[in-house]
Subunit: 445 residues, 2 copies
Amino acid sequence: MSLPTLFLSSGAHELEAAQTLIQAGQFVVILLIARALAELMVRLRLPAILGELVAGVLIGVSGLHLIQPPELGGELNSLAQGSIATLAHVSSEQVRQIYANTFPILQGVAKIGLLSLLFLTGLESELDELMAVGGQAISVALTGVILPFVMGAFGLHVFFTVPMLPAIFAGAAMTATSIGITASVLGELKVLRTREGQMVIGAAVLDDILGIVILAVVVALAAGEGFTAGPVVKLVGAASVFVAVALALSRTAAPAFDALLDRLRAPGEVAVAAFLVLSLACFAAQAFGLEAALGAFAGGLILSSSKRREAIEKAIQPLVALFATVFFVLIGSSLNLAVLNPFNPANHAGLLMAGFLLAAALLSKLAAGWSYLSKEPTNRLAVGLAMIPRGEVGLIFLGLGSQSGVLGPSLEAAILLMVIGTTFLAPVLLRLVLKDPIEAVELVP
Amino acid sequence: MSLPTLFLSSGAHELEAAQTLIQAGQFVVILLIARALAELMVRLRLPAILGELVAGVLIGVSGLHLIQPPELGGELNSLAQGSIATLAHVSSEQVRQIYANTFPILQGVAKIGLLSLLFLTGLESELDELMAVGGQAISVALTGVILPFVMGAFGLHVFFTVPMLPAIFAGAAMTATSIGITASVLGELKVLRTREGQMVIGAAVLDDILGIVILAVVVALAAGEGFTAGPVVKLVGAASVFVAVALALSRTAAPAFDALLDRLRAPGEVAVAAFLVLSLACFAAQAFGLEAALGAFAGGLILSSSKRREAIEKAIQPLVALFATVFFVLIGSSLNLAVLNPFNPANHAGLLMAGFLLAAALLSKLAAGWSYLSKEPTNRLAVGLAMIPRGEVGLIFLGLGSQSGVLGPSLEAAILLMVIGTTFLAPVLLRLVLKDPIEAVELVP
């Protein structure tokens, strides 16, 4: 069997046809189902990302077996396998092999989507807004990171005898706040420009930065270096320096970037220049011993003060719309729902764990609403609720946790349920607390 | 060695770091060098694509050995291999394996770029302009397809004893007209809206359609079914039906697409809907026994009458700017310049062949300028010259020819030289003939 390549060897026409059918078919299935469910979620005024996750579950290991990583022993379902074999005039066994060989391309594309999403998150960070609500946002962010982390990690370790490393990973995933979901719900309820709104967005930005530093440390720990203080301090130091340099560059490098863009004349220059910064930042982070995810976020942060920011966003958004969707679907597709079947007594511990994680995730972020000082009265319940949704940031932790291999299937499922639960509940509860105005229905983007 | 995946197995942290370094590094090297040379070409008022091809040659098999397909026995150069091994704390042998294993991802991304480019070409086709200059454009297009095909295929077969199948492939590559390069040069010289300009653009659109039908037939022939009339007639029939359906759908399906888009509310809907049409069209073409390339072009043609066309273009352009660049660099990177060394007597036949192809490519398209009837005087020389550049369309033929394995290294090099030569000469000659106005310098897009 040849590898899937652009330049297949002689006589491989049928194999290449089968490969193209599989790849085009994967995009059709993923985009069609994910976006149909995303549209449904938006109409229910829930985050679109929930639809993409559920789509993954429907077509993945726990569903139709149309998309599933070969590493999990997954195979294309036999109907799809047979159809492609017939259309391309190859054997079912060849389809099976080409499917396994081409899956890394889908995963590579998902990785581009994930890194583009983090780049866009960094790019859209309003550092100035963060500065304006300063102290209060910092209190909310720190409480909203430390409390979930401690509750998650120690709770799992003490009550569920989960080993330290996976417990810490789960704790880290609890620290996330989805700035995208929070901002879109607050915007929809027309409270984004209130003091509470600004505080939450400021805290969510800071939370992203803290979370991604924690991520870099935790992933490196998961590489098996164990629990000595030395490497932790070194990694925290490296990550802090990296973010500090990115923040400094966001003040100084963006004008140089703009000047360069002004001089470029070949078409597509914004997309290419932005993607170059993204690639360079990922390379630098990884060369520094940190995660590419941190690099992507820092790359966006560096360009966040560019006067071409809007053009950069427009150029990167299609990559996110297409390929981050693939990323979320792949996350959902690898979820094995069987570990959550309540009728199997072996699953009871896992289910209890999922319940604990969800409760801790809700309470710990809610508490952040009472963690700041304010002379004027503010809606502390709304601030706490707005910090709850883990969304895509929680999923990125989960993806990297699966990848590092430290999480078992039931802990993975519990984390996914925690992410889905918080992402689902936060918008619903926020609307109740803020007395949802009817006309907000029209504001859905 | 594990395959390159998003979900690597436990303890694979260093391998994953090496993979990310290789992938981010590839994007940095490709985009940086390709776009630097593209900028240089634009300043010399030559097509940007020439810079991307030359960049591929510089960093590929014939140059720095930074990017080259493992199938050609190529390996990363030892300096890059050593640097990545040091940064990621893995062995050089592991870097070599990860490089070979991740190369298909780069090729997969290049394929997305190629298909997006063809989709964009179809999307930007002005069917109405084609209708307006009707008969004359058809004469020019038919002459500009039949003459180069016959001169190329029969010339190679008769004078250079090239076997029939590769000779036909080379002939097919000669039929291409780069609508992008032609339109940009004519626009720059401010003659796009003249009768000659409209005729050339109309002929180039028709040429794309004819060329891509020929391509589908030739690639299927290269699959080894030999030279009986049956399959040729069947494939020409299938391809014609496919294009006819696409043309019919471009009148009827676009309004349905627009109505659907108007109802979508989840963000990124234009990019996703357009990419879905692209994937579906590629799947349909391949399932029909034709090329995905024809499907991509037809998908674009179907949406060319959408009232959201501009938004679709904007959403797909970043994919083209990023990933079609990768495609052109990969084409250049696999060129072995050694087969063109004039001091090696074994290469003389190949060089003579390249010279013949270039001369035939120039003369046969030039002749198309005298192939139409016109009551008013028209600049026939300008029409002929404008049809000359093969550009990206010629390269797509070359890429699929390499892939099918029917072309030998010297014929591949000869076709690449023909493409580069025509793409380079056409803008230069056109400027001379049309007495280049000084202010056109400012018009470079």
